[in-house]
C-alpha cells in the first residue's frame, strides 16, 4: 500500500489500483455522512478530484493518487458512509482505477515514509 501527502492510499494488484483515504484522514474528518464516488469510465489524472467525502465537520475532495480510468466505484458507501470511519484502509475504499501510468505508484510514500510524514504534522 502506498500513500500521498493528501492522505489517500492506493493498493495495486496487476494494473488495478484501489484507492481510499487513510485512517488518519478518517479520524481527522470525524463521522463521515456522505460520499460521492466517481462514475465508472471516468478518466482522472494524478492529483485531480476523484471523489468527495463529507463529514459533520467539512466536505473534502479526495484526489486521485494515480492516473487512470475508473473501473469500479464502491457503491456500498452510498448507504453506509460510516464504513469509511470503520475500515478506512479496507472496506471503506472509494474506487478502483485501471492504471495509465504505473510508474506514478512507485513515487508515492510507503507505510514507513507516510508514518514519518504524519509525525511531522
Amino acid at each position: 500500500m502506498r500513500f500521498t501527502k493528501d492522505h489517500e492510499w492506493v493498493a495495486v494488484e496487476g494494473d488495478i489500483a484501489t484507492v481510499g483515504i487513510t485512517a488518519y484522514a478518517a479520524e481527522q474528518l470525524g463521522d463521515v455522512v456522505f460520499v460521492e464516488v466517481p462514475e465508472v469510465g471516468k478518466t482522472v489524472a494524478q492529483g485531480e478530484g476523484l471523489a468527495v467525502v463529507e463529514s459533520v465537520k467539512a466536505a473534502s475532495d479526495v484526489y486521485a493518487p494515480v492516473s487512470g480510468e475508473v473501473v469500479e466505484a464502491n457503491a456500498e458507501l452510498g448507504d453506509a458512509p460510516e464504513t469509511v470511519n470503520a475500515v478506512p484502509e479496507a472496506g471503506g475504499w472509494f474506487a478502483k482505477l485501471k492504471l495509465s501510468n504505473p510508474a506514478e505508484v512507485d513515487a508515492l510514500m510507503d507505510r514507513d515514509a507516510y508514518e514519518a510524514f504524519l509525525s511531522t504534522l
Binding site: 463521522d31 465537520k57 467539512a58
Partner: protein
Amino acid sequence: MSMNNVGRPTRPEASNDDAGFASLSGGRGLLQDEPLIFELGGWTKTGVDLPDAVPADSALAGLTRDEPIGLPGLSEPEAVRHYVRLSQKNHAIDLALYPLGSCTMKHNPRLNEKMARLPGLSDIHPLQPQSTVQGAIELMDRLAHWLKTLTGMPAVALSPKAGAHGELCGLLAIRAAHEAAGNGHRKTVLAPTSAHGTNPATAAFCGYTVVEIAQTDDGRVDLADLESKLGDHVAAIMVTNPNTCGLFERDVVEIARLTHAAGAYFYCDGANFNAIVGRVRPGDLGVDAMHINLHKTFSTPHGGGGPGAGPVVLSEALAPFAPTPWVVHDDSGYRLVEEAVGPAAQAFGRMSAFHGQMGMYVRAYAYMLSHGADGLRQVAEDAVLNANYVKARLSDLMSPAFPEGPCMHEALFDDAWLEDTGVTTLDFAKAMIDEGFHPMTMYFPLVVHGAMLIEPTETESKAELDRFIDALRLLAEAAKAGETGRFKNAPHLAPLKRLDETLAARKPKLKWKPVAPAPLAAE
C-alpha cells in the same frame, strides 16, 4: 383601619430549591417545545374569510393543480402565537451581543427602520412609472455615490442581494471583461486557504478551477506562493481584506500589482469592510471588484432579520461590464437604465428581476447620513478597538491564533489551550449558550485548528463586553479545572439539547407526515 389583604402571600413560603421538580403536564415553563406549523394546523380552518373563487378559464392548460396543496389552516391568533413563540427561542441582536465572527452582527438602528417605513419608500412597486418614484430612485443614486466615495471606486452595481450574490456579480463582470479582450482561456481563480467558502464556490459556479494560495505563519497571503501560481491561465484572485483571521493583508498593494502584472483581476471579498470603512479605500489598494454587505457594514438587519444586500463596486476596467440596471439623472430627473447601449456599456446581463432590495438601500443610506464621515470612521476604529479588548482580556486563559500584534475587527483563538482538558471547541461553544450568549463562529477559518472567531462589533459597550468576557473567563477556568460534565452535555438550559449531527445527517428523520388533507375547496 381598613384590611384589604385578601390572603395573597407576599413572600415565598418554601425555599426556592427546585431540584427534582417536574410539572404536571410535562410543560417546561417558558421553554416549551413548539410543534411544526403543519402539526398545529388542521385542514379546515382559515384565518381569513375569502369569497369562493370565481371559476375561470385557466391558462395553465394541463398544469392546473388537482391535488390538495397541503397548507396548514390556522386561525389568526394561532398563527400569531406560533411565530411569536418561535421568535422567543431565536437569539437576536436585539437580545444580546451576537459574537459570530465574519458576520458583523451589529445593532440595527431604529432610525433606519423608521426611514424604511416611510410610505414613499415602502408602499411602492418596481413596475410603477418611474416619474412617480423619483425620490426612491434618487436615494439609490445617492447611496451609489457614497458607496463609490467610501471605496474609491468609479462604478457600483446595487442589485446583488447578498454577499455571495455580489461575488457572483463581480466574477461575471471579470469573466465578461476577459472574454471581451479575447482572454476567455483564463480559467483559474486563486483564493487563499483562509477564504470564505463562498469564494471558491462562486468561482466554481462561474466555471473556473480554484487553486489555493498558501498562507504564511502569521496568517497572511504567501506572496511567493501567489507569484508562483499566477500566469496566463489565471482570471482572477479572490482575497478578503481584512482576512478571515482578523488580520489586515499588509501586502495588499503588492498582491494587486502582481495580479495585474499577470493580466488577472483582483476581486476583494468585502465582508470585513466594517473594519476599515472610512479609513481605507479599496480602490486605492488596486482592487477591481468588491462586494459590500449592506447587512454588515451598513447595519441593515440579517441573520433571519431581513434580506441581505451586496452591492459590488467596480474599477475603471470592469465598469463597462456592470449589470443593469443603474441610475442616471439629467434635467428631466432620475431614471433606471434597463438596457446597456454603446461601447462603454457591455453589461453581462442583470443580477435580479428588478433593481434590488429597496428597503436595505434606505436603511444603509440612513445609517450613512446619521453617522457622517467622522462617524463611519469611528465605526471602524471602535470595531477594531473592541476586538482587541476581547483579545487582550482573554489571551492569558485562551490561546490567540496569531498572538503577535493587534487584530482587526475580530479576535481569533485556536484550541491549543484546551489540549488535555477533554473539552473541544464545540463543547465550549455549546456551554456559552448556558451562560446566555450566542456562540462565536467556530471551526472557521479552516487554517486554524479548533478555531473560535469572535467579532464583537463596535455597537457593544464596554460593560456588555465585560459581561461577555467574564462569562468566557469563568468557562475557560472551568474547562481547565476539569469540569467536563458542564461542557460535554451542554447546552443544559436550552429547549433542545445537544443534537446528534451524525445521526441527523446519516438518517434524517422527517417528523411530520400529512394526515388526511382536506379536498380542494372547489371540489
